[in-house]
Amino acid sequence: MQGKSVLRAVSLVLIGLFFLFPLFWVFLMSFMTNADILRNPPSVIFSPTLHNYGALISGNLGTVVGTQKIDYMLNLFNSFVLSSGSVILSLILGVPAAYAFARFKFRLGEDMAFTLLSFRFAPPLLVLLPLLIYFQQMGLYDTYFGLIWVYQLITLPLVLWIVRGYFEDVSEDIELAYRLDGHSWLQTFLRISIPLARPGIAAAALLSFIFAWNNFIFALILGSSSVQPVTVGALAFITASGIEYGQIAAALVLSIVPTLILALFTQRYLVEGLSLGAIKG
């Protein structure tokens, strides 16, 4: 019995170490100077510096060959625009559809929901290649709107399937009661159905934001540096900043902090969101 609980404790520590150490270490690196980073053996004792973050925020990066201007902040800003824009568009498109899908059992709704879902699992490049050609013809290449529209591929199924589950849980009797009180369908939808499904809508919105934020391939293909989010920006940044490892670490930290904070808020809904509502968390 004793040996068993020791084994259990050791396993828990190892698991914690494996999953948290990389985050911890990169976080530490982001406060190190290059000299601290290159020290052998590595040490967790060093005098922390905010220089790396300062350089990133000002956009003037010190490299071996001199100062270089890199607008990593623009990438962060783009991530915010793209993610928020995608979430808003997804809610506008998805919430009414989720309601229709939950309330009225109709063929088209079923087909639609499954088409969207099946493309959630299709290789993204398959759709992106033709889209790149179309977008260049239509002038949507390298625009926020074009990217936000493509992001619906990830965020819309999420909204549709999570919110649908919550609408299904809203009692039809409550809606009927409100109608009989003399309110129109739209008033009932806005004042009863939506508020009652709000936890689901909030969860879907937060999760969609995270998923959109973490997307890489869409913007890699359909945008150039002016609209690219941090995921694509970080890769370019590594190439550009060369061996300024502290700055790279700081850039990575900046790119994950927003989603990590959101994740801590959404952990209650996470299971449901990750499994598209297949398992209620």
């Binding site: 009927l176 009661a177 409100y178 109608r179 009989l180 009180d181 003399g182 129109s184």
Partner: protein, 360 residues
């Protein structure tokens, strides 16, 4: 013309008829109880009247106007739901105020009418609570208040006492008629409880298999049910149904019940020689421990029920018959099997067709 008129209503789901050819006329201010067991189509009927579902055929007319295709919000119908259907994110006050808000009633009048209604229903002390902070009885009263406050032309009450505890149910059964009369509402009240139906209704509409098989006063439904199905639904213990074949003799009609010939007070010639079902309620079966001219039986079991004693009798041919009598008689405290004699009060006998169960 009646105030609320439902004619030839039909509704099917996936080819399965739920409501078939249902008609009824309700007078203004009437209290109509719709009685039916679960699965009889009550919920669908209410939804058709409320406008949540569209009928396949037939019409619902209110004060002469057809309600076909009219949205629920324009129907002037109030409804209290079995599960209350309160708005969980609004206080009891806002729940009750909802019908007034939709009509842009001025704030001071909303305040007045909601508080008046709440006082009448004795929930004014919890008026600022959210539904989750209310007891079952308070929820039920809030739901009732919401359906009443707008003084709708027709009030639909969907088994409103189903989910409240026995005490409140009893109180409300006494209180509801008075309350509803004060609102001068035309009421359609749905219940699964025949006693509730008998206690509350001006008339009872018996819903069986999606249609009203009888619409009549509580007395008429009990004393003269249209068929055996209705007869069985009312009464506890259920009505006794025995196969008989009345015969004509010089002294009038007679028939054989469990090897004993009994005379019938009725002189309906149509019954002569006809195979039919005799229906007789337990309270019309007298039991005596002394030998009488009655039918010899064995008392198999005795159990008290609502101030009465209910007995299961077994006739000589094995036929089982329920009898009941007021408590406190010589039968009180009897244990085990006993030889006895049963007297059928055939003045209250009902006769039904053996095949379709219709009353003759």
């Amino acid at each position: 013309m009646a105030f609320l008129e439902i004619t030839g209503l039909n509704k099917a789901f996936k080819g399965h008829a739920i409501i078939r050819d249902l008609s009824v006329a309700v007078e203004k201010g009437e209290f109509l109880v719709v009685f039916g067991q679960s699965g009889s189509g009550k919920t669908v009927l209410l939804r058709l009247i409320a406008g949540m579902l569209q009928a396949d055929a037939g019409d619902v007319r209110l004060d002469g106007q057809s309600l076909l295709g009219v949205n629920p919000e324009y129907r002037d119908i109030g409804m209290a739901f079995q599960n209350y259907a309160l708005y969980p994110h609004m206080t009891a006050f806002e729940n009750i105020a909802s019908p007034l808000r939709s009509r842009n009633v001025p704030e001071d009048e909303v305040q007045k009418r909601v508080h008046d209604t709440a006082r009448l229903l004795r929930i004014d002390h919890v008026i600022d609570h959210l539904p989750r902070a209310l007891s079952q009885g308070q929820k039920q009263r809030t739901a009732l208040g919401r359906s009443l406050v707008g003084r709708p032309a027709v009030l639909l009450l969907d088994d409103p006492l189903r989910n409240v505890d026995a005490k409140i149910r009893y109180e409300m059964r006494l209180e509801l008629p008075r309350l509803l009369r004060s609102f001068e509402s035309t009421v359609i009240y749905v219940t699964q409880d025949y006693k509730e139906a008998m206690a509350l209704g001006d008339r009872i509409a018996v819903l069986v298999d999606g249609t009203f098989q009888q619409v009549a006063s509580p007395h008429a439904v009990y004393d003269a049910p249209n068929n055996t199905r209705i007869a069985r639904l009312f009464g506890d213990p259920p009505i006794n149904l025995l196969s008989v074949r009345p015969a004509g003799t010089a002294h009038g009609l007679t028939m054989r019940i469990a090897d004993t010939m009994v005379a019938l007070p009725q002189t309906d010639e149509a019954l002569v020689g006809r195979e039919c079902m005799l229906g007789i309620r337990s309270e019309n079966v007298g039991v005596s421990l002394e030998s009488t001219s009655g039918i010899p039986v064995t008392i198999d079991a005795i159990t008290p029920l609502n101030n009465r004693l209910v007995m299961l009798l077994r006739c000589t041919d094995g036929t089982e018959v329920f009898a009941s009598c007021p408590q406190g008689g010589p039968l009180e405290g009897l244990r085990g099997r006993h030889q006895a004699w049963a007297d059928f009060d055939l003045a209250h006998a009902l006769f039904f067709d053996t095949n379709d169960g219709a009353r003759l």
